[in-house]
Amino acid sequence: MIRYLAGRVVQGLIVIFGVTIAVFVTTRLIGDPVNFILPLSASLEQRARLRVDLGFDQSIFVQFMDYIGNVARLDFGTSTKFTNQDTLDIVLRFLPRTLILVAAGMIIAFSVSIILGMLAAIRPGKVTDKILVTLSLFGLSMPQFFLAQMLIVVFSVRLGLVDIGPGPWTHLILPSIAIALPAIGRLAMTVRSAMIDELNSQYVKTAKAKGLRRRRVVAVHALRNAAIPFVTLAGWELIRALAGFTVVVEGVFGVNGLGGLAILAIRERDFFLIQTIVFVVAIFVVLINIVIDVVYKFIDPRVKLT
C-alpha cells in the first residue's frame, strides 16, 4: 500500500513536472514573455530592461534551470496586476471560494446522478428511463457557459429568486448548479448503464430469489458494484470541474475564485500569476487522482494496489 502510494506520488510529480514544462515551453519558446507582459506601445528600451530584469535575456537552458529552482523553492515571482504581491499568496486567497464552489457542485452532481441513474436503471426502456436519457443527452449538448447564462436568465431575471450579486454564500448557489448540471448528465448515464449490467447479473438474481426486498437489492447489492465505474468518472468530473469548468462558470457569474483569477491573469497578461495558478491546479489534480485510487481499494477489495 505504502509502496504503491509512493509510486503514485512519483507519477504525480511527473505530471506536475510535465505541466510545468508545457507552460514554460508555451510562454517562453512559442511566445516572447516580454511581448506578453508589456503592452504593444512599450518602447524598445522598456522591453530590453524588463528582459534583463526577469532574466529572459539568458539562454533558454539557464532560464529553465532558474525556473525549476524557483518552483522548487515555491518562489513563483510577483504579480504585475496586483502590484508586487507574491503570486502564491494571491492564489491561496482566491482558492477557497473555488474549492467551495466545486465541492458544492460535485456533491449535488454525485448525489443527484446516483438517484437518477438508479431510477432509470430499474426499468430500462420505460418512460422514466427514456425521459432521463433524453434529458441528459440534451444537457450534454449544451455549452456550459450557455447553461450558466440560462440559469441567470430564468432564476435571476425572470423569477428574481436567487440573489446572484456579491453575498456571503447565496451567490454560490447558481454557479454550483451550473457546475453540477452537465456532470449530472454524464454521471447519471454511467450509473444507469452500470446498474443495468449489475441488475442482470447472477448475484442479483440470487438475492432476489432469496426473497430480499427489491429496494435492498438495488441499493445495497447492485449499487456497490456499480460504484466502481462511477468513481472513475466522478473523479474525472471533479478534476475537469476544478481545472476547467470552474473557469467558465466563474467567468459567467463573476465569482472571484481561481477561475475568475485565471481569466483576469490571462487578460491582464500577468505572466507569473498564470504560472502559479496552473501549478496549484496541477497539484490538486494529482492529489485527486491519488485519492480516487485509494477509494477504489475501499469499494472493491479485489482491487490490488500495485
Partner: protein, 334 residues
C-alpha cells in the same frame, strides 16, 4: 480440383445446411447476427428515428453554413448603428429582413450565425482530422513497436490526459493569438490522446492474431502491417470516436471564443457570437440565447449521429439493440 471437392462437400451437406439456415431464419437460437448481416447501416438509420433526425438537422445546418456567403441575407459584419438592436421576426416590431434581429453593432444575427457556424465547422473538421491522424499514428507505433518507445509514449499520454486541457489551451491562445490556425493547433494538441489510447488498445489486442503474424512473416514492412492489416480493425471504433470528438471540439471552440480567447474581430465563430451577446445578458438575453441554442442544436445533432454510427457500425451494439426490441415487443423479458 480443390474447389470441386469443397463444393462436393457442400452439396453433400445441403440438407443439414438448409436446416440450419431455416432455424436461423425462424429467429431461434442466434437471430441477432442474421439481422446484423442483412440490414445495412443506412437501413439501420431509417429504423433509428433520433439518428435520422440528427442527420437531417445536421445536413440543414451544414448546408446553411457551407453556403453562407451565397445564401446569408447579410454579411457577418455588415450593418450600421441605424440597424442596431432590431428585434427578431417573432416580436411585434420585427421584420423578415432581419429574421433573428440585429445586435448592438447593427449586424444581422442570422447571418453572423451562418458565417460563424462555417468557421466553427471548419475548425472542428480540421482538428478531428489532424488530431485523429496524429493520434492514430502515435497509437499504432506505440502498440506495434512496444518496448521502451511504448512506455515513453504512454507516459506522455498519461501526463497530458491527467491535466485537463482548457487552462493550457487558454494560455496557449493568449500567447500565440486567436486565429483559425492557432485554434486548430491548440485544440489538436489537446485532443489527440484519445485516438492514440484507443488505437494502442486495439493494436495490442490484434497484434498476436495469426493474420498479423503471417503478414510480418512473409516480409511485409512494419508500416504495411500497421496500416494495411491492423488499421482496418479500427474503422468502426474510430469513426464513432471521431464524431463524438467533433461534438466535443465544437463545444471547446465555443468555450474558448466565449471567454474572449478565440477568434478576433472581424472573424466570427459561434463562440464569438455568444461572446458578443455576453454583456447584454440582462438587457437583451436573446443575444445570448440564440447563439447558445444554435450551438446546442448542432452538438445535439452530432451526438445523435454518433449514437446511430455506434450502433450501425458495431454488430455487437446492434445485437444489444435488437435484443432490447425483442424483449420489449416479443415478451422474452422475464
Amino acid at each position: 480440383m480443390n474447389k470441386k471437392r469443397v463444393s462436393d462437400e457442400f452439396t453433400s451437406r445441403t440438407s443439414e445446411t438448409e436446416a440450419a439456415i431455416e432455424q436461423e431464419h425462424s429467429m431461434e437460437g442466434r437471430p441477432f447476427e442474421i439481422r446484423s448481416a442483412r440490414i445495412g447501416m443506412f437501413r439501420e438509420l431509417l429504423s433509428d428515428s433520433t439518428g435520422f433526425i440528427g442527420l437531417a438537422i445536421l445536413s440543414i445546418l451544414v448546408f446553411g453554413a457551407a453556403f453562407a456567403p451565397w445564401i446569408a441575407p447579410h454579411g457577418p459584419t455588415e450593418g450600421t448603428l441605424s440597424t442596431a438592436n432590431l428585434p427578431p421576426v417573432w416580436s411585434t416590431a420585427g421584420s423578415w429582413k432581419y429574421v433573428l434581429g440585429t445586435d448592438p453593432q447593427g449586424y444581422d444575427m442570422l447571418s453572423r450565425i451562418m458565417f460563424g457556424m462555417r468557421t466553427t465547422l471548419l475548425i472542428s473538421t480540421l482538428v478531428v482530422l489532424i488530431a485523429g491522424i496524429f493520434g492514430v499514428t502515435i497509437g499504432l507505433i506505440a502498440g506495434y513497436m512496444g518496448g521502451r518507445l511504448e512506455r515513453w509514449i504512454t507516459g506522455w499520454i498519461d501526463v497530458q490526459v491527467a491535466f485537463p486541457g482548457l487552462l493550457i489551451a487558454m494560455i496557449m491562445i493568449a500567447v500565440i493569438g486567436g486565429s483559425v490556425s492557432s485554434l486548430v493547433f491548440v485544440l489538436s494538441f489537446n485532443g489527440w490522446m484519445v485516438y492514440a489510447r484507443m488505437t494502442r488498445g486495439v493494436v495490442l489486442s490484434v497484434k498476436q492474431q495469426p493474420y498479423v503474424e503471417a503478414a510480418s512473416l512473409v516480409g511485409a514492412s512494419a508500416g504495411r502491417v500497421m496500416f494495411r492489416h491492423i488499421l482496418p480493425n479500427l474503422t468502426s471504433a474510430l469513426s464513432t470516436l471521431a464524431v463524438l470528438e467533433f461534438a466535443r471540439i465544437i463545444l471547446a471552440e465555443a468555450t474558448l471564443s466565449f471567454l474572449g480567447l478565440g477568434l478576433q474581430f472581424p472573424d466570427v465563430s459561434l463562440g464569438v457570437v455568444a461572446n458578443n451577446g455576453r454583456n447584454a445578458i440582462f438587457s437583451a438575453p436573446r443575444l445570448s440565447i440564440i447563439p447558445g441554442l444554435f450551438i446546442s442544436v448542432l452538438v445535439l445533432a452530432v451526438n445523435f449521429v454518433a449514437s446511430w454510427l455506434r450502433v450501425a457500425l458495431d454488430p455487437r451494439e446492434r445485437d444489444k439493440r435488437f435484443a432490447a426490441t425483442v424483449s420489449h415487443h416479443g415478451g422474452v423479458q422475464q
